[in-house]
Each structure stands twice: as C-alpha cells, then as structure tokens.
Subunit: 186 residues, 2 copies
DNA sequence: GTCTATATCGGGATAGAC
DNA sequence: GTCTATCCCGATATAGAC
C-alpha cells in the first residue's frame, strides 16, 4: 500500500513527485510539465497513468480518507471517554509513522482552498476530519473544551511547522506533539 | 485606516472583493475578471488602481504586517513573563475586533503556499508571525511548552473554522478562543 | 509506456479611445 | 476613472507515431 517499489512503478512515482510539488508550491501553481520534468518524462506520459491532473490529487486524497474513515469507524464504537480520546490520538500519531505521506496530504487539503470546490472526495475528507475533531471532547462540552479537543489534532499537524527551527528529529517533534495533544483531549 | 468610505473609494472596494475571493477560492484560482465582474467594472479598470494582481495582495498583506510589527515592537520591550504573554493575546484579540479583515488575511497567507515564493512582504510577515509564536513561551521552554504557546495564537485563528457548526456569534467564538489561548500561554 | 506535435482555452497585462 | 480590443503566454488535454 505505501511501499513504493522504486523500480518500475511509475504511477507511484508520479504520485510522490506530484504530492511534493503540490504541497510545496500549491496545487494550482504546479504544472504537469514540472511534474513530468522532475521524473524525466513528458506531460503526455502522465496521461497514460492518470486521465487528468485532478485524478492525481484525487487518488492521493482517497487513500488518506480511507485511513480517516477507519479511525472514525473505530472511535464511533467506543465510549466517549477521555481514555478513548487519548487512544485515538495515539492511533493517529502511529498512522503518521506508517503511511509515509499522511501528513503531507493533510497539509495539502488544509492549505489549498481550491481543492474541494471541484475535486470530489475532498469534501468528504474535510467532513470526516471535522467529525473526528468534534469527537475529541465530551458530548456536552463547552466551546472551550471543543476547541481544545480539536487543537489536539491540530497540534500534531502544526508541530512540524511550529517546531521547525528547534533542531529536533521528526520523532522528537512528534513525541512532543503527542504529549501536548494528549493533554488537550484530556 | 479600516474605514471603507463605501461611496467612492474604488480602491478599497477592490481590496474588499479581492480578499473575499482570494480567501474563498484561493489566490491562484481567482481571476481578475471575477473581481472586476463582481464590482461591475472591467479588468482594465483594476489596472488603473493596481499595477498587477500581485500588488493587490501585497497591499493587503503589508497593512497586516504593520499590525504584527507593532505588536512585536511592544512585546520585545516587555519581560518574558506569563503576564506579558497573556496581555499579548488580549491585544491580538482586540486587533481582530478593530481591523476588519485581519483574520481573513491571516487565513489567506496560511492557506496559500504560493504566496511568499514570489510575493515580496509575505516572507517578512511569516517571519514576524513565527517570532511572535516563539515569544509565547518562556525563553528556555521545552518543545512541549513552545508548541503550546504557538497553539495559543493558532487557537484564535482556528476558532472560526473549528467552532463553525456550534451556532455561536463571532463574539462568543472569539471569547471562547481567548479563554483557551490564555490558558495555553500560561 | 513514452514520445512529438498540436488544439484549445483562459489568464494577466497593455494600448489607446472616451 | 473606466471602457473596448488585443497581445502574449502558459496550462490542460488530445492525436497519433514509435
């Protein structure tokens, strides 16, 4: 699933490069020529693997949506307790270790307002994310508690940017974010 | 400064509409034709007031950067105490009441990765924002504390999105965010 | 599976009249 | 201060050869 058999799987290599450029320069600003150039192929080659630019980003997003929906299925069956929320945060963080570009895709959809108006699947993902955030506080929580719960997830996403200048490894950054997130959902 | 003499000041009306569309659909995706249409003028008319699309967004950003720099000048002269941080958060929140589109511009720069590569002034703003976030925790703080301090500011920015479905007024939302932010920088 | 060549479109920007 | 008309470019996407 997230193996990247770096030899022949051009399709996966396209996704890799596209995601990197989309997150770096934005979806709209990234041209297919740029992607093709970096791969050492031509634009037309991309169209053999994907029928449009949209489809490239769609496949990326659908893979990550599946992850969110798995997490949602799990949490929906659990009691709405602090213990559940803490366990959720741990599972979410673990996912960041496994799927190699979960975080990047999250940044992509957070930072590209244009995705979602046209691109199917993005709205569903944003919806799932909102639902998960709502579940990170007790059912009858005050707005303050609601916000803190949501900030638990946001902390994890933001840590890589906010702690960038702090000379930590990715693991250390994630560990710190995990501490903060666990506290926020508690 | 943020008056909008709604009669004749076309320049301000262009900024208004542009900001709204930029934040809604993204900077790249918004065309000058769209802006002009909504104002009931033509593209060429925009070029009388601004020499380029970039200049429109630049003026927006420069006004908000000035605000951040004022806040920075103030906090730099204060002791790095919890009291200072709390007062900073209060001043920041107050600014959201005054300047009518401070928040929108913040969302704009957060969510458009493409701004900043080319557009002068954005990097300076991002830098100021990072510096301010760093000052929201003690000088020798752990990564955890650093992250929590930064989340104080982020809480304010995120509240409008995160608490959207909660049927609160903007004031109530901001008040809740303020509570959480004050706690986070403490 | 990748190439060259091309069709087509929409965007930013300018010239010059009113 | 706003208009019409136009230029120019880069982007997505397709056709068809190899």
């Amino acid at each position: 699933m997230s193996e990247a058999p770096s030899g022949t799987d051009t399709r996966a290599r396209i996704q890799d490069v596209a995601l990197e450029l989309f997150t770096e320069h934005g979806y709209e600003k990234t041209s297919l020529r740029e992607i093709a150039d970096r791969l050492g192929v031509t634009k037309a080659a991309l169209y053999y693997h994907f029928k449009s630019k949209e489809e490239i980003v769609q496949t990326l997003i659908e893979e990550r949506t599946a992850v969110l929906e798995d997490l949602w299925s799990w949490i929906a069956t659990q009691p709405r307790s602090a213990g559940t929320r803490r366990e959720f945060i741990r599972r979410y963080a673990a996912e960041l270790h496994r799927g190699r570009y979960h975080m990047q895709v999250m940044h992509l959809i957070e930072r590209n307002p244009t995705l979602g108006q046209n691109i199917s699947g993005v709205e569903r993902m944003r919806g799932r994310l909102a639902e998960l955030m709502a579940l990170l506080s007790p059912p009858d929580a005050s707005p303050q508690r609601r916000l803190k719960g949501s900030l638990g997830l946001i902390a994890i996403h933001a840590s890589s940017v906010v702690l960038r200048d702090l000379d930590l490894t990715d693991e250390e950054r994630l560990a710190a974010a995990l501490d903060v997130a666990l506290e926020l959902v508690d």
